[in-house]
Symmetry: C2
Subunit: 355 residues, 2 copies
Amino acid sequence: MSTLKNDTFLRALMREPVDYTPSWLMRQAGRYLPEYNATRARAGNFMALCQNPDFATEVTLQPLARYPLDAAILFSDILTVPDAMGLGLYFAQGEGPRFERPLREEWAIRDLAAPDPTDKLGYVMDAVKSIRKALDGSVPLIGFSGSPFTLACYMVEGSGSDDFRTVKALLYQRPDLMHHILEVNATAVTDYLNAQIEAGAQAVMIFDTWGGMLSNRAYKEFSLAYMARVVEGLKKESEGRRVPSILFTKGGGLWLEDMAATGCDGLGLDWTIDIGAARKRVGDKVALQGNFDPLCLMGSPESIVREAEAILESYGNGSGHVFNLGHGINQNTPPESVDLLLQTVRNTSPKYHVA
Amino acid sequence: MSTLKNDTFLRALMREPVDYTPSWLMRQAGRYLPEYNATRARAGNFMALCQNPDFATEVTLQPLARYPLDAAILFSDILTVPDAMGLGLYFAQGEGPRFERPLREEWAIRDLAAPDPTDKLGYVMDAVKSIRKALDGSVPLIGFSGSPFTLACYMVEGSGSDDFRTVKALLYQRPDLMHHILEVNATAVTDYLNAQIEAGAQAVMIFDTWGGMLSNRAYKEFSLAYMARVVEGLKKESEGRRVPSILFTKGGGLWLEDMAATGCDGLGLDWTIDIGAARKRVGDKVALQGNFDPLCLMGSPESIVREAEAILESYGNGSGHVFNLGHGINQNTPPESVDLLLQTVRNTSPKYHVA
């Protein structure tokens, strides 16, 4: 493996001095890019992109060719793990992901087992290796997984949902069964992320997209506790370097102190919190990643520049901030707005990093 | 008007001593009740229920006949106001509310005017009067409105939305036009709530269902500022008594201090915040209303009792808490679960109010 030419992202996550605030964007390889759509058309469908390491590598690198990004993120889907558990992931035309066999019976829940990540998820590890080779040390590669609870949401509901009513009904009717699913998921996510690290991921992120719809008590018991278990089980070093971990609960702004206490290195923030206030609350315990509203990219150039500068200013001086969106980029985003955002961060941020 | 026999709800909102924690439930008159569905079938459709004072009175009183509730809430819809502005509200079968003429052109936005609430919204005031008469002083009647921003969401988008992308695009492209809509809406909401108070509403609540999807900065500029203007313009007394106002921003747990600073009397809480932590943050500035997860009503009796007791215990001793859900009741809720919840609150709460 070649040495890393740009490690600004990794250093910011460790709150080590940097020259500017590094950036990457959630879902930076995606449908807002014409070149992505062209590759996807060649691949045939979304899952074929994920399952073929050549296609996954191609789309992972596309945004890096256009924009001044400081990290690449593995192109994949959070639902590969429950798919490998045998739930049968598919994408209905014009709809979100669905499972053929959602967890609706006690026997199915009791039968659940964590998959060997090098077997049924070998295609993901192949993609990690292929992307690392193609990156050739230009920027670090981020691996990722859904959180145990977020995976459970799709596994029980069988699809996305407005309110995940079936999930909450199970959680409040049979907490024992929900805990069983989450234990299996925590093992599966830990093994999956460690396999990504062994294959070459240089940082890992856990996406807790749906933990924020839980009550304060239920969040701690059913989502945070299992993310903490995953963080504890992660390989902490690879290639002679710390592999930082980032936790992101969308809508989790009230729980930052608890999230920081898991031992992770960084927290993702959505856009509802003031990043300066968040920094005061977590102190020097963790780095912060975020917190630009992705829909502000639909706005005027002035509003994009103003919002980006306001976030940088609110975070203030010193390292520990990775600029990002507060959620995945919207498919209707104009690619030139993304360029303006990233150029603004790159050009404005050095003044916050003067020694 | 007769004297109020049970004013526990009003006293709790003013943080005056009470014997138990009063309760009401958002959307307590609704589709989870068979008697509601029967009345709705007779009325023909949802809007006919709202527009006919006899039907509105009938459904408003239905949950009070079943449950130990300490307040009634006017049966109506938040979108009556933009409908009275001429946007053409309708309900497509099996879908949410829609507008025939959403605000998509600058001229339409410039043409917008606050409606005279006693004219085009006279049916709402007739319902308030009729409900007050039917209540006969048993419990207070709550009037309500959508927040200026939440109304604007539907007015611009033309319907509900996952992300209100059109609204955010307008907000970030043409903030001047968004501010114009919000100014008109703030006047309309103030006039509408004051007309409800004149007709007999004894407390008022402002529902900011969508403010919580805004960034920290945008929330303060586009939602909170206009709710503050409404609160300032509200009639503060009626029938020789304070008319308390409650602000509720779903997902607004990070902004409680700012909301309390508007001069309102109470804040609605969703279920993501610990109510004891919220109480510490707002001090004795406002009362708190909430914060039971409505989907916990799908759970086992044990979980309903446990969650209700945990909320009461977290709030702790003394007045200033109105028990409620953190969002409207789900239509699939078993009516007996609602009874268990309300009996639990009524029976468990007196120990927190011993002098």
